[in-house]
Amino acid sequence: MRRYRLIDHTADMGMYLYGRDPKQVFISGAAVLFELLVEGRRQGPGKWEALALDGLDRQDLLVQWLGELLYIYSARGQVLTGARVQRLTRTRIEAEIGLTAFDAAHHKRRTEIKAVTYHQAEFKRHGAGWRARVIFDV
């Protein structure tokens, strides 16, 4: 099953995320975000930390999730090495994220993403699975 498809937006960048269940959409979103941000080795070891977020609904929760991961990268200089979603409801995610410090010897910055926007955000059933759409401000 494809994980994502990039959306050709005039100024910014968007993507459709796919998963057999909402959990997989969240995990795919995290991985694809970091594929866009960083070139190079993103595997562990790294350290794991807990992340819990609340949203108004699934769309908002996905924007919060990706926005928080973007903040961790942009402001704390940490690169995602993995994500485990332990609990997911329509309005809350509880996860563990693997992080390693950005290191110019192993990582190269790829695209600057300023923010994860709410523009055209969606999260819905798609065939036998789920599909979400997010647009980034780049």
Binding site: L6, D8, H9, T10, A11, D12, M13, L56, Q59, D60, Q64, G67, Y71, S74, A75, G77, F102, R109, R110, T111, E112, K114, A115, T117, Y118, H119, Q120, A121, I135, D137, V138
Partner: protein, 477 residues
């Protein structure tokens, strides 16, 4: 999207459904066809749904698809019944541009252009994750947020004449540093004096053509003159402010009653506590951006001195003007023959006040406000002057650039296999860049024809052509 041609340069989107006012797009036949290919006309209509919008939901000829508001969108709101929208300002609060004039001619600079470019590239932190020469404490960041350019000038980065030539004097009234989150402040600790990446740049230009000798004289421009154009914004601090307040507005009870077509348009009443808090934080982030451009300009002055071995008296690197592209401001405009206090949102648009307006610096009041329009790195940029049409038709606004026509992906595809830097060098433009993909995304073909865009605002009478600049060297992040 239903659109009706009013004349050669005006296109109306009739008010339908939940639209409170019609939309109005300034464009010619060619530009409107390009605009119609993406979702930006729908976004003009979406903005027209916002409560308290006055006149029309406007869009400039450089408009393109953004998020929430279109890029190139202008909308004014009643201060009692209207809203303030973080999406109408954007993540890069007070992303803007400043133009520095010099006493040098292109003949004097051309032989040293590569050395000069290398020196600028070394001295000015550029690119993704760049960190500034200033390492500020939290209390110093708050001073920058409240005093803007004036604070960095006090630290020795420039002089007080620079402040007079900056929109709002480089410090917007009503800014409150205390209103920013800890995250926003933390992101501002080491980014003053950095260019960033994406479409941000520093460009050395030469004045190629003068269209209006009198105004060019008042602006200190002459043919063959070397100038420096700087484009950057409020960096991570501004992004965080927008993010924080969008989140808060999304959760407000007020918003539920607004019934908006796009969540990115989340807003608060201007008169509400949340609306006022956002305005104060936005103004603070705008001040941070002015301080950022002020320090970048100061570093550029130093680079010129070092690379060319000339002193400040010989270089005469004076700030012509600094304008904001992404901002919301309280302004008084005449609407249906009545003076009204409005909150004007410019999202990828430039203030363009005409001659005589009290907010135009005294040095330019007789001719009008300088309006700076960066084009693309291959073709050129413009200096315009605010004209009376802006005061009657666009809440004192004009376009802000050429506007993208290719998506970043399409630009990269087009650039594949090409040596862009060499192509530009052969065309007389030296380029220094951090990210190869940024160079491809920002290639000249990715943008609309700036001459055509500027011709529209000139013909409509929003701003008049004063001079055209031709790039000599560019730094991209």
């Amino acid at each position: 999207m239903k659109i009706r041609k009013l004349d050669d340069y005006r296109w109306e989107i009739p008010a339908e459904g939940g639209m409170r006012v019609p939309g109005l797009v300034f464009a010619d036949e060619v530009l409107i066809k390009a605009i119609d290919k993406d979702n930006s006309l729908k976004q003009v209509a979406n903005v027209a749904h916002l409560p308290g919008i006055v006149g029309r939901s406007l869009a400039m000829p450089d408009m393109h698809w953004g998020y929430g508001f279109p890029i190139g969108g202008v909308a004014a709101f009643d201060v009692e019944e209207g809203v303030i929208s973080p999406g109408g300002v954007g993540y890069d609060i007070n992303c803007g541009v400043r133009l520095v004039t010099t006493a040098l001619t292109q003949e004097e600079v051309r032989p040293s252009i590569k050395t000069l470019l290398e020196t600028l590239y070394r001295d000015i932190p550029t690119g993704l994750g760049s960190r500034g020469v200033l390492k500020l404490s939290r209390s110093e960041v708050r001073r920058v947020l409240e005093q803007g350019s004036a604070w960095v000038v006090k630290q020795g980065y420039g002089d007080s004449a620079d402040l007079e030539h900056t929109e709002e004097g480089g410090a917007m009234a009503g800014a409150e540093g205390e209103g920013l989150s800890e995250r926003a402040v933390a992101r501002g600790l080491d980014q003053v004096g950095t260019l960033g990446s994406g479409n941000h740049f520093l460009e050395i230009d030469r004045v190629e053509t003068i269209y209006d000798a009198k105004t060019a004289g008042a602006f200190g421009l002459f043919e063959g003159q070397v100038t420096v154009l700087i484009h950057c914004g409020s960096r991570g601090l501004g992004h965080q402010v927008c993010d924080d307040f969008l989140k808060m507005m999304m959760r407000s009870k007020e918003l539920a009653q607004m019934d908006l077509p796009d969540r990115q348009l989340a807003s608060a009443l201007v008169s509400s506590t949340l609306g006022q808090r956002y305005f104060a934080a936005m103004a603070a982030a705008a001040n941070y951006a002015w301080a950022n451009r002020q320090v970048v300009m100061h570093l550029a002055r130093g680079s010129f001195e070092k690379a060319l071995g000339l002193g400040p008296a010989r270089l005469r690197m004076n700030l012509l003007y600094d304008v904001a592209h992404n901002i919301a401001k309280f302004e008084t405009h005449s609407v249906d023959g009545r003076e009204r206090r409005l909150l004007v949102h410019r999202k990828g648009a430039t203030r363009a006040f005409a001659a005589g307006h009290p907010d135009v610096p005294s040095a330019f009041r007789a001719v009008g406000q300088p309006v700076l329009i960066p084009g693309d790195m291959g073709h050129g940029s413009y200096v315009l002057v605010g004209a009376s049409g802006a005061m009657t038709e666009s809440f004192g606004s004009s376009c802000h650039g050429a506007g993208r026509v290719l998506s970043r992906k399409a630009a990269k595809l087009k650039a594949k296999g090409r040596a862009l830097a060499e192509e530009l060098s052969q065309a007389g433009v030296e380029v220094r860049y951090t990210g190869r993909s940024t160079l491809a995304e920002e290639m000249p073909e990715a943008y609309k024809d700036v001459d055509r865009v500027v011709e529209v605002v000139h013909q409509v009478g929003l701003a008049r052509k004063v001079a055209r600049l031709r790039p000599m060297a560019v730094i991209k992040g």
